[in-house]
């Protein structure tokens, strides 16, 4: 058993003529919390459905918890805990009935564990699911996803529609019951500030590809903003990692991926510049809609 929990190689998926995923590759080692970030509609849910074998792909190789979703989806679903954004729960069931219903599908289902989670999350047992609040529904989803002790948990924008208090609680639950237990977690989100605190690694999906991936701390260390005088911009060639360049009068505000190295190069050629930290939101924006073109015409 390798220590890679999830492996995606050259995944491609198109809906008719619309290519949603185009040559996507990444690996998630066992025990890592991996966050898939991207704007709404970019293909995060498509990616997750592909991982679970809910969607056939045009090409590429996938391995999730040792299974190929194309050939082995049943075994895969037994090993993976899944919490969907829009989980069509059986609204007319109670929590107790849902657990009883799900148990036969999972050889590793632990009803004592299910009970513990339901207690822990304070889910009323005898209330119909349609009567539960959104926050309670998410917790119930998490409880049943955890009750069969999965090695890997795949969560599709789990905090969507939750109020800030519930979101914080959800993050706590993720840290305590998934991360601290050494499980591998893949989750998609569009809320970067929430993701930063919890994820080990983030991957930005944009226009069908993973355009940037890495631990959040190194992302922050590498992608930084700096102000440069026009004279410097004019006589320096644009750095390879230039993400955004805007001119304001005699100065340029630029965002560079690989900022520390670029600053060293500038210093070596005689110009001392300073970079400032950016919020993860701004980093994301620069990666996805940054405009570096203006530098070339300086």
């Amino acid at each position: 058993m390798s220590d890679i929990a999830v492996s995606v190689q050259n995944l491609r998926k198109a809906f008719g003529s619309q290519v949603v995923l185009d040559d996507v590759s990444f690996e998630v080692p066992c025990g890592q919390t991996f966050a898939l970030l991207g704007r709404n509609g970019v293909g995060k849910t498509t990616m997750i459905r592909a991982l679970l074998g809910l969607l056939p792909c045009d090409s590429g190789v996938l391995r999730v918890a040792g299974c190929d979703p194309a050939t082995d989806p049943i075994e895969l679903r037994r090993r993976v805990g899944y919490l969907a954004e829009d989980q069509s729960m059986y609204d007319w069931m109670t929590a107790t009935e849902l657990c009883r219903f799900l148990e036969p599908f999972y050889p590793k289902w632990n009803s004592r564990l299910a009970d513990q989670y339901l207690d822990r999350f304070e889910i009323p047992r005898q209330t119909r699911i349609e009567r539960l609040s959104k926050g309670q529904t998410v917790k119930l989803g998490l409880a049943v996803a955890l009750a069969h002790a999965p090695e890997v948990a795949i969560l599709d924008d789990p905090a969507l529609g939750l109020d800030p208090v519930s979101r914080k609680e959800f993050n706590r639950d993720l840290v305590e019951h998934l991360q601290a237990e050494g499980r591998t977690v893949i989750y998609s989100s569009h809320l970067l500030d929430e993701v930063e605190a919890v994820a080990d690694v983030v991957a930005i999906l944009d226009r069908g590809r993973i355009i940037r991936q890495g631990p959040t701390e190194s992302l922050r260390a590498e992608i930084q903003r700096m102000v440069l005088p026009h004279e410097i911009v004019r006589r320096t060639s644009a750095p390879a990692g230039l993400l955004d360049a805007r001119r304001h009068g005699e100065n340029w505000e630029v965002i560079v991926d690989g900022a520390p190295r670029f600053l060293e190069e500038l210093a070596a050629s005689g110009h001392a510049a300073k970079a400032t930290d950016m919020t993860l939101d701004d980093i994301f924006e620069a990666c996805v809609i940054g405009r570096p073109q203006a530098w070339a015409s300086a």
Binding site: T33, K168, N171, R172, L174, V175, E176, Q179, A180, D193, E194, E196, A197, V198, A199, D200, T216, E217, R220, T276, D277, M278, T279, L280, D281, D282
Partner: protein, 131 residues
């Protein structure tokens, strides 16, 4: 033990936590010999990645501020004579940051009265959350 995290800040979360713990150790707010939450407890409390908390504790231990006693827990180290000058260095750094912040406020057009009001309100909030 009180740690306040500002999400969506340009300061990375790990740095925020590390600086607060460091300041509290140096200033004596965290008393020598006091037991800190376990890595797991703190991660859960703050809703922060377990590895992040672990790395912070390791860093603070390397700085001599806390000790990780195997099988027992994490404790605040006894204050060393150097820690007074470290505290003073931290305070100097704070003053510089404060100056830079006020400069920015002035450039943004805040009046003196507005800046003072911001200070008063921030101070009130900080003292209140200390209790």
């Amino acid at each position: 033990m009180f740690v306040h995290i500002e999400r969506g800040s340009s300061i990375p979360i790990s740095r925020q936590i590390a600086e607060q713990l460091r300041s509290q150790c140096l200033s004596g707010t965290l008393v020598a010999g006091e037991k800190l939450p376990s890595v797991r407890e703190l991660a859960q409390q703050l809703a922060v990645n377990v590895n992040t908390v672990f790395r912070i504790y390791e860093r603070l231990a390397a700085e001599g501020l806390i000790e990780l006693r195997h099988g027992d827990g994490t404790y605040v180290s006894p204050r060393r004579t150097e820690s007074r000058s470290e505290l003073s260095a931290q305070r100097d750094k704070f003053s510089l940051e404060f100056d830079a912040l006020i400069q920015r406020g002035v450039m943004l057009g805040f009046t003196d009265a507005e800046l003072r009001a911001l200070l008063t309100s921030a101070l009130a909030t900080a003292r209140k959350s200390q209790q």
